[in-house]
């Protein structure tokens, strides 16, 4: 029988007091009432740990790096033991054939009951040859694991949207998990971000364990509790935005005073994530707080939206790269000039006609 989370935690020397703290903090992070803390504790004490297969496709491991840095109390002990992490090639002790045997074993032992956590995505071109794991395309491993899993977590922007390896022109045809053709139709939860916030990752797993289902998702499959608001909606620099106080360049007076970064291209108003509330590194800071505009890493296709320092998307296909205002302004100028020219010709024509009549 698989041991419970509580068993593991106690075995690792965590006190019951710390354990209960973790439960109530997690309940708070999930936006649940205090009454949910005992529920979480109960689940942790009684439910067997969820086996997790953590597969890595095309990615940079920033999701794993973020995950193991969860600044939540007990992170290094609890988080990693919370889930029965059966396979994660980055942090597991086993290697080579030994490691790959675990994938097989997990699939057989927990058929239909394990969670498939995907970090990174598979390339589809050249039959997936651009990402090989243990001599076989990652695509095959992913499809097989998806066939037998209970549900899929798409960690990070790679698995959720495609991220940098899927940026134009995407030569390997890197494809986000939910768009992989022929993938078994399992429920998918997206936790986008490059990387996602550690506390968000752990909270999502805790929720799944406690309630044995996904948290409420938005239309695009992201957990509402963390992705229902934009960075902008809870930004601490928002009063400067409303006042009309903007950083014009990175070395000006406004930058020193901590004005709004809207004019230097902050994507806060178009980015759904929890950075401005949860923040990073244990609530220490987040990009905007450190004086740099948000560049929208948790948004679909953020690499392909032009400069990180412009708020408008570059529109391709006009021969030159231009944004909506340049194109529109040019169009308006052309129309205005055409109208003026047409008016002049009309006036000449009219004058001539009158001249002819008299």
């Amino acid at each position: 029988m698989t041991e419970t989370f509580y068993d593991v935690m106690r075995r690792q020397g965590i006190t019951r007091r710390s354990f209960l703290k973790f439960c109530s903090l997690t309940a708070a992070a999930l936006g649940l009432g205090p009454s949910f803390a005992p529920q979480i504790a109960h689940a942790m004490e009684t439910k067997p740990r969820i086996p997790v297969l953590w597969l890595h496709g095309l990615e940079c491991t920033c999701c794993s790096e973020s995950f193991i840095r969860s600044a939540h109390p007990l992170a290094k002990d609890v988080i990693l033991s919370m889930i029965s992490l059966d396979y994660d090639d980055t942090i597991m002790a086993a290697a080579g054939h030994q490691a790959e045997a675990i994938v097989e074993e997990t699939i057989q032992k927990y058929d239909g009951n394990f969670i498939l956590a995907c970090e990174g995505n598979p390339p589809l071109n050249q039959e997936g040859m651009s990402c090989i794991i243990a001599g076989k395309p990652y695509l095959e491993q992913l499809k097989k694991a998806a066939e037998h899993c209970k549900a899929i977590i798409s960690w990070g922007s790679c698995a959720s949207w495609g991220c940098v390896q899927a940026a134009r022109p995407n030569p390997t045809q890197a494809t986000p998990i939910h768009k992989v053709p022929g993938l078994a139709p399992k429920p998918i939860i997206k936790v986008p971000g490059c990387p996602p916030i550690a506390e968000v990752m752990t909270a999502v797993i805790t929720y799944i364990l406690t309630f044995e289902r996904f948290p409420e998702l938005d239309r695009q499959g992201r957990p509402k509790m963390f992705y229902s608001q934009r960075i902008h909606d809870k930004c601490y620099r928002r009063p400067h935005f409303d006042a009309g106080q903007f950083v014009e360049s990175f070395d000006d007076e406004g930058a020193r005073k901590g004005y709004c970064l809207y004019k230097v291209g902050c994507k806060g108003p178009t980015t759904y994530n929890a950075c401005s509330t949860v923040r990073w590194n244990g609530g220490l800071s987040f990009p905007i707080q450190s004086g740099h505009p948000c560049f929208g890493c948790s948004e679909d296709g953020f690499w392909d939206k032009g400069s990180f320092y412009d708020r408008l998307t570059d529109i391709h296909g006009f021969g030159v790269e231009a944004d909506a205002d340049k194109i529109g302004g040019t169009a308006a100028a052309v129309v205005g000039a055409a109208a003026a020219a047409h008016a002049a010709v009309s006036a000449v024509k009219r004058a001539r006609q009158k001249g002819g009549e008299s």
């Binding site: 608001q229 934009r230 007076e253 178009t270 308006a332 047409h342 009219r350």
Partner: protein, 235 residues
Amino acid sequence: MSTNATAAHKEEAVYVYQAPVRLWHWVNAIAIVALCVTGYFIGSPLPSVHGEASDSFLFGWIRYIHFSAAYILIVGFLLRVYWAFVGNHHARQIFIPRVWTAAFWKELGHEIMWYAMIAKQPMKYVGHNPLATLVMHIMFVWGIVFMIFTGLALYGEGAGMGSWQYNLFSSWLIPLFGQSQDVHSWHHLGMWVIICFAIIHIYAAVREDIMSRQSIISSMFSGWRTFRDDKPADD
């Protein structure tokens, strides 16, 4: 001056634009000016205001005017659509161009020739000419519908999940375009389409008022269309 030009002629008058249509036209025009100016400044803000943030609400006011004008435009547009059902047949013209009739396309050709200064004179129209109808239908009617939909989708982002704007617009429009930033970009482009339309619309109205065979600008104030000659339309 020729005697011809000032020859006595009988002015026939037809009541075309009913009061709600005229009222809507001017309210809508003012709203569009307010929306374009504030919208441009939302996209490209003015130089920073200095001093304490609590002393100023400049950007807040610009956005407030933008949203207020938007709601006036939306309510006006809905009433205008309603009036298309209950008003006279001219009120339906810009919503349903009669593209299924051969005459529409033939007269459209004639109007283009008139604007290309090949045709000697335009035909007479009680309502809009086919070219005007088509431009208004495509650039204005669909342009405004596009701006209302994308605008409400962007507004719904701020109003938050659970708001009717979010549920009815943001929830499906933002994924449809890709992401929020794409909707912003398209909303900017939409503004330029409306500005291009306004330039064409005002120029054509002034030109037609001078050169066509019927009144144009004053009709949008009085509602009455008068004709400058009593010759048949295709004379």
